[in-house]
């Protein structure tokens, strides 16, 4: 098993330099993405069979590369297998999408070599069984994705995105490096050795905080999210899909691997920290998303929301595990993992849809789109499924994982700690708010860009995207439905992962009557996606048949009524900003310091009236801007050192030497 996986990763690594050659070839992108599709599909099938049929085998391998006395250790357990599925399902879908989409790339040389390397990096992280391989692969993943973020480097916005991304990625890696440094101090770099060692509670706590910083910055937790909405939209769309749908999940993997697996028993305050970060991330992320008008930025911000939900689930799992309520911990953990899988599906789908729109119109600004459902009906259909799924509405998959998270929250009065008793209801409230905002956000995204009348010529002359891209989107949409109506299958597949990580698993679901899912007991709660779906389909069809049989089925086309004042100008439609105006007015003044400035020209002046909206990212203003200012100030001061005379330099070196010697001597 692990041999197949490693060979596939090696194939991806071979494809990377081949990409340099292929980028000049006319069919190069097809060959490269085809190769990636084969390699990732192989990895996905391997991991799936491992998770389903051999979940208790943990094959490992050691390769004589890396540090000379260490080698590179790899291991494939249930957790790795699950995340391999997530990574490679997303990777395969992105490669399939790129078979069509990648042909429109103006400078393929800037994307093709990095794409397979990026996929390989993510796979190695998930397979790594020692800190060195893990960190090298982590950095590899960051750098290759950075290269693709700045692939369209002529736009100033992308360069800035790349700069911020590089800074935050370095910060994250530094935090992880320190975390592993602390862990390895007693044991060495091998994960097996770290697992066997028993670090003290204080040390484990420090490691946990460092990992939250390191993995959290890559996953996009508030307040470490600042780079994410800049970088994810800047990359080509299939890479955006991977970065948002898959790379953030690799970060979640890193967190779970270290905190749930490598560290000893958790302490209750860890979960408190996670809940205090996860809940606000969920609500703030989607509120930010609601304020945007660039489709890909909306999707990037919504990733922050979903990561918040995942970390909330993980936090609950830690809390229950710390208090010894293993079976509830399994419920919360499974909810988080299911959301990992679901989010990878629908976020990839949505980014691909945004890519298809971008390819057809050249626009990411919703306010220049509209009416695309007539021009791109299949893309519109696939994207509708994605929007419903991500809004956590039944019968799609997003609902199931949120429902499980809510069920875990409902069991938390059993926790003895008072801090958690006060925090968890608040977090539950935040998640409920986030779910409602998400629905509004995706109504806006879909309604403004796909419905209504075209707001620009490019939108009016858009054309349907190619077959490869459509296939990728429709497959993901179908998976969203399957995971929504047959959640029991997925929950059971996750049982070995949860058994390994929290020591318990949810009750076996498949085989219950009508494939209902029952997380705890039937008297408590149950949900049956299949029946809800069939039931609703039946009701809708019955209504349609009855009406067309017994009532009028005639139909006339006429101009829109619009209360008697129809206006042919498409600018009278609600725009993205006007759609979010009520919510901005209710929440914006607190969260974003939002202000609306109306400029009314004096009477008789022919100047147009203007309405300007100011929205601030307060976290940027409060946290990052002062740091940037401080660094700017410090560098200005230290800059003097560049212009010293040779005598002064020599003095400086001498003084430094003396000081160092003194330090050593004391």
């Amino acid at each position: 098993m692990i041999a197949v996986a490693l060979w596939s990763v090696a194939a991806l690594l071979v494809l990377a330099p081949a990409g340099i050659v292929l980028s000049t070839h006319p069919r190069g992108s097809v060959i490269l993405y085809g190769g990636c599709l084969i390699a990732t599909s192989t990895l996905c099938v391997t991991a799936l069979s491992d998770l389903l049929y051999f979940p208790h085998l943990t094959p490992s391998a050691t390769l004589p590369i890396g540090l000379p006395w260490l080698g590179a250790h790899f291991r494939l357990d249930a957790l790795s297998a699950f995340f391999l599925i997530v990574v490679n399902l997303g990777g395969a879908a992105a490669s399939l999408f790129a078979l069509g989409y990648g042909r429109h790339e103006d400078s393929p040389g800037r994307v093709l070599p990095f794409y397979p390397a990026y996929l390989a990096g993510m796979n190695v992280i998930v397979l790594a069984n020692d800190a060195f391989s893990f960190l090298v692969a982590w950095e590899f993943m960051s750098l290759t994705s950075w290269a693709m973020v700045v692939s369209h480097h002529r736009e100033a916005e992308n360069v800035r995105a790349g700069y911020v991304y590089l800074l935050m990625a370095s910060f994250g890696t530094l935090a992880l490096l320190l975390a592993f440094g602390l862990l390895a101090s007693g044991a060495g770099y091998d994960f097996d050795a770290i697992r066997a060692s028993h670090p003290s509670a204080a040390l484990s706590g420090a490691v946990m905080i460092l990992v939250l910083l390191g993995a959290g910055s890559k996953a996009g937790l508030v307040p470490l999210h600042a780079w994410l909405p800049l970088a994810h939209p800047a990359a080509p769309s299939h890479v955006s899909g991977l970065m948002s749908g898959v790379m953030t999940k690799v970060a979640v993997y890193g967190f779970v691997r270290i905190v749930f697996d490598l560290l000893p028993e958790p302490v209750w305050w860890w979960s408190m920290v996670m809940l205090l970060v996860g809940g606000p991330s969920a609500t703030l992320g989607v509120l930010y998303a609601l304020m945007q008008r660039d489709i890909k930025r909306v999707l990037a911000y919504s990733t922050i929301e979903n990561i918040g939900i995942i970390f909330t689930g993980l936090g609950l799992a830690l809390a229950f595990k710390a208090e010894g309520l293993d079976w509830v911990a399994a419920l919360a953990f499974t909810a988080a993992m299911l959301h990992v899988f679901n989010h990878a599906l629908f976020k990839s789908l949505l980014f691909f849809g945004a890519g298809a729109v971008l390819g057809a119109t050249g626009e990411r600004d919703m306010e220049k789109l509209g009416g695309l459902i007539h021009r791109m009906p299949k893309t519109a259909f696939a994207l509708l499924v994605g929007c419903v799924a991500i809004s956590a509405l039944p019968p799609f998959n997003g609902f199931v994982s949120e429902w499980l998270t809510f069920q875990a929250i409902l069991l938390s009065p059993q926790l003895p700690s008072w801090g958690l008793k006060l925090v968890i209801p608040a977090v539950g409230g935040l998640l409920a708010l986030a779910a409602a905002f998400a629905a509004a956000c995706f109504v806006k995204l879909y309604g403004i860009s796909f419905l209504g009348r075209p707001r620009s010529d490019v939108a009016a002359s858009a054309h349907e995207t190619d077959h490869f891209s459509l296939t990728a989107m429709l497959v993901l949409a179908a998976l969203c439905l399957v995971a929504g109506i047959l959640p029991g299958l997925f929950i059971d597949a996750l049982a070995p992962v949860s058994k390994d990580m929290v020591g318990s698993m949810m009750p076996h679901q498949v085989g219950l009557q009508w494939l209902t899912i029952v997380p705890i007991a039937e008297s408590r709660s149950s949900y049956n996606g299949l029946l809800v779906f069939l039931f609703a389909a039946l009701c809708g069809t019955a209504a349609a048949t009855a009406i067309h049989r017994f009532a009028s089925d005639r139909l006339r086309r006429a101009p829109a009524w619009d209360c008697g004042y129809p206006d042919p100008n498409p600018a009278i439609q609600y725009s993205a900003s006007s759609f979010s105006q009520p919510i901005r007015r209710v929440f914006g003044s607190v969260v974003f310091a939002a202000r609306e400035i109306g400029e009314m020209p004096p009477p008789s002046s022919p100047a147009p009236a203007r309405l300007q909206v100011e929205v601030h990212d307060l976290i940027w203003d409060v946290l990052y801007a002062p740091i940037a200012k401080l660094i700017g100030f410090a560098t200005d001061r230290i800059n003097i050192l560049q212009f010293l005379t040779i005598r002064r330099y020599l003095t400086l070196v001498f003084v430094a030497l003396v000081v160092l010697l003194l330090v050593v001597a004391l």
Binding site: G371, L410, W561, Y574
Partner: protein, 318 residues
Amino acid sequence: MTALSDILSQGAQMSLVLGGAPLLTGFVRKVKARLLRRRGPPLLQPYRDLIRLMRKDVVLADNASWLFRVIPYLIFAGTWVAASLVPTFGNGLLFSWTADLIAIIALLGSARFFQALAGMDVGTAFGGIGSSREGMIASLAEPAMLITVFSVAMIAGSTQLSNVAEFMGSDAVGLRVSLGMAFVALTIVALAENARIPVDNPATHLELTMVHEAMVLEYSGRHLALIDLSSQLKLLLYVSLIACVFLPWGTATADAGAGRLAFGALLYFGKLTVLGFLLAVFETSIAKMRVFRIPEFLGAALMLALLATLLRFVSGSL
């Protein structure tokens, strides 16, 4: 009970809510009219309106998409399924374990999602105004509802409505502060979700004040009939929900005979009458709010619901 009688009682429940929904709306309208010293339309007027609409041609805007034509059926299906999951005259119905309270909220959320999309499909200014305002109202009402459900579910130890109703009807429930708060919160949410005064005016056609009507402005004929029927179903659903959770007396248990079921149905009818009457009295005695006062109104519901949940976390008996 045999499978056949299971299916029969579930079917009876589904037809009951479908057939009774317009009557409830007609009753509320009639009481409102009488309170305003008007004679009001006959009780059966909503049925006549529906039949008349069904018989008319659909006049579809030129640039309406296929989604616009499918959405009425989606809304209807979502609302009807949700309404069939709320116990009316009897608990433990066949499909009661299919979905719990959270799923019912989400099903209504799906219906609202599509309704808001329909408002934006034709590309008029009024449709957008309705969808956008609906988005704001829902973004407060839905969490308030969900948190209310949390508090009720934690008291009853279940999110399954049949079990909640059974628990609420038993002696174990006692008098609780949190339940009172949850009741007020749920009432406010029900007013907002059903586009009632003071949040929205169901009778309005004054463009700038309407929310629900603005979204469905472009619908006509059978599509409009379905949407009207869905919103009547939704009102019935919320009234039944309040009746089922807070006035659970007389609801037949899972293994009850035909006599008990009939008695349950009679009592259910009585509860609907009382709650419908109270709704009409409330609506005639209060004025419609400005749009940006609604967040404060709903914010109160949100806070009450959160307090109720918090109380439950802090103390088992409050």
